[in-house]
């Protein structure tokens, strides 16, 4: 039983870890609270599902979902930088709008992938074995490593540094000759590209895509990010990216255990909320107990 809990947590940690990295890039790196995620997650899932269901190459379908996410993120950033719509509102507008777009893409609310060839079937076929959860985990580990290395490299390049600086001191970045609007667009694009990729992987792993599967994704991503940061106190881009996966794994572990303890799936949202409150609250309570100075409550 412990093994099965761990296995499913690792699997989901890897799948949703991409969402957490996406949330990290917008919320932490860019300081752009992007709520597009709930929509772009499903956009990724539905693009991949439609293509796979109609017999396209699953790898091509997965890549297409990434591109769909890149486009969604770019539009969110454009709403903010070109039309000066508030960042939160830009994300909300996109999230709402994408719901209809996703229904259009799927021609309905749901696409089953049970008898279709997903990337996991392809990989299984390549190694001449049957699809199983261990194989899915290995496939995801390879994908995770590829994206981890790529992002860890990218964030340290000249462009990547400008992107990170844009979320820290935008005025300074413009003053040093880098177009912060472009940086924000690039960051939002990468973020939602990863989120859409996660959506397509989740759809392929669970065997269907549903228009409602993105609900609460942003909260999950934030919770996982906060847990990862709380546990590892990461310093430097590589460790933060790693912490995203660890945080997502821990989050999924808590959820799985809670479910096994007999809580209903409907209780999950409350568990998530409670988890975030605990992780965020503990450091302050601890400081209070030690009699340390605590800064006034922040509202932004």
């Amino acid at each position: 039983m412990i093994q099965s809990i761990l296995l499913s947590s690792i699997l989901e940690g890897l799948l949703f870890g991409f969402v957490t990295i996406g949330v990290y890039i917008t919320f932490r790196v860019l300081a752009f609270p992007d709520l597009t995620v709930d929509g772009s997650f499903v956009t990724g899932g539905s693009v991949a599902a439609v293509m796979i269901a109609t017999g396209h190459n699953p790898f091509l379908a997965t890549f297409a979902s990434l591109i769909a996410g890149l486009i969604a993120g770019t539009i969110t950033a454009a709403l903010n930088t070109a039309l000066r719509i508030n960042a939160l509102l830009s994300g909300i507008l996109m999230m709402v709008g994408l719901y209809s777009v996703n229904l259009r893409i799927m021609h309905g609310a749901n696409i089953p992938l049970i008898r279709s060839i997903t990337i996991f079937e392809s990989v299984a076929h390549f190694f001449s074995i049957r699809r199983n959860s261990i194989l899915i985990i290995y496939t995801l580990v390879v994908l995770a490593i590829i994206f981890f290395l790529a992002l860890n490299w990218f964030l340290r390049t000249e462009i990547g540094l400008a992107l990170r600086a844009s979320g820290d001191n935008e005025q300074m970045v413009r003053g040093l000759g880098s177009d912060t609007n472009k940086n924000v667009a690039l960051g939002c694009a990468i973020s939602n590209g990863l989120v859409a990729l996660a959506g397509s992987l989740v759809a392929q792993s669970q065997g269907f895509c549903d228009v409602n599967m993105g609900i609460g994704m942003i909260v999950m991503g934030l919770a996982a990010l906060i847990i990862g940061e709380g546990i590892l106190h990461p310093r430097g881009t590589g460790k933060i990216l790693f912490a995203c996966f660890v945080g997502t794994f821990m989050y999924r572990l808590f959820i799985t255990i809670a479910l096994r303890l007999g809580l209903a799936p409907g209780d999950l949202k409350l568990i998530t909320a409670t988890l975030v409150v605990i992780v965020l609250g503990i450091p302050y309570v601890r400081k209070r107990l030690r009699g340390e100075w605590v800064p006034p409550a922040a509202r932004m």
């Binding site: 990547g160 540094l161 003053g175």
Partner: protein
């Protein structure tokens, strides 16, 4: 300073800036500024609060364009209406608040790497390399603050004076055409202020940078630079060259200001600190 009178670096033509136009809050921050700055000039600008000093620097740095009809030309390029981030190629700036000129959540070397690429295209090369680190060390060591040994420290851990010194090096490392010092020592304690001021002067002289320094302090305005400009209510009241400035005293300055500004100065005199 080896100034070359024939070589105009920065030319401001009829710069006006009106905020909140057409409302009861309408303010004319700049009211027809004409100014030529020659290569290797070190201009100090003095004036009371609301004189338009910072607005003038903001126009030069491209934060906002001047009203129609005005022109900002630098190294023979008209930069009046190009986007703010493109001004970086021409103007390096140190702000009043140390937190404005540096990125707190990045390390010292990351801040330096951002500054090194001022006005250049940024690519997919590693932002920090061994060679660049050497360059950062040699640029930071003249400060005498030990920053060169703490390249991977977060800037948030530095004091205000250290951050402002870092900002100064960042503004000058890639040698923009002009250096804008915007009351850059106003928030520092007197001793640190003096140190940062000396550093500024040292770097300006060493790099032969054309510089505009805004200050509230008459003494500093007299001690540094080869030209002095006094602003009041969006206009240039006094524009002194090297010869005049050498003989100038604070008393002269106060008198010159009183003469030009007339009665209004009585209220404003308290705004200008004499030491």
């Amino acid at each position: 300073m080896g100034r070359r009178d024939d070589h105009i670096l920065l030319r401001l033509i009829d710069i006006r800036k009106v905020f909140s136009r057409g409302t009861i809050d309408e303010v004319t921050a700049l009211d027809g500024i004409n100014l030529d700055v020659y290569e290797q000039d070190f201009v100090t600008i003095i004036g009371s609060n609301g004189a338009g000093k910072s607005t003038l620097l903001n126009v030069i740095a491209g934060i906002y364009p001047p009203e129609r009809g005005g022109n900002v030309c630098i190294v023979d390029q008209d930069i009046t209406n190009i986007p703010e981030y493109k001004h970086a190629e021409y103007a390096g700036r140190v702000y009043q608040d140390p937190s404005e000129g540096t990125a707190a959540k990045l390390t010292i070397e990351e801040n330096m790497a951002m500054a090194l690429l001022r006005g250049q295209s940024r690519g997919l090369r590693a932002a920090i390399s061994k060679r660049r680190r050497e360059l950062f060390r040699s640029a930071l060591s003249p400060l005498g603050l030990g920053l060169e040994d703490r390249l991977s420290a977060y800037v948030a851990t530095l004091s205000g004076g250290q951050r402002q010194s870092l900002a100064l090096v960042m503004a000058t490392i890639s040698k923009p055409a002009i250096l804008l010092l915007d009351e850059h020592i106003a928030t520092l304690d007197p001793k640190t202020a003096e140190t940062v001021l000396e550093l500024s002067d040292m770097i300006v002289k060493r790099e032969r940078m054309t510089t505009i320094m805004v200050t509230h302090n008459m003494d500093i305005a007299l001690r540094y630079g080869n030209r002095l400009i006094m602003m009041h209510q969006g206009k240039i009241l006094v524009n002194m060259g090297e010869e005049e400035k050498k003989k100038l005293t604070i008393a002269d300055l106060v008198m010159a200001f009183e003469r030009a500004a007339g009665e209004e100065f009585k209220d404003d005199s308290i705004m200008l600190s004499q030491r």
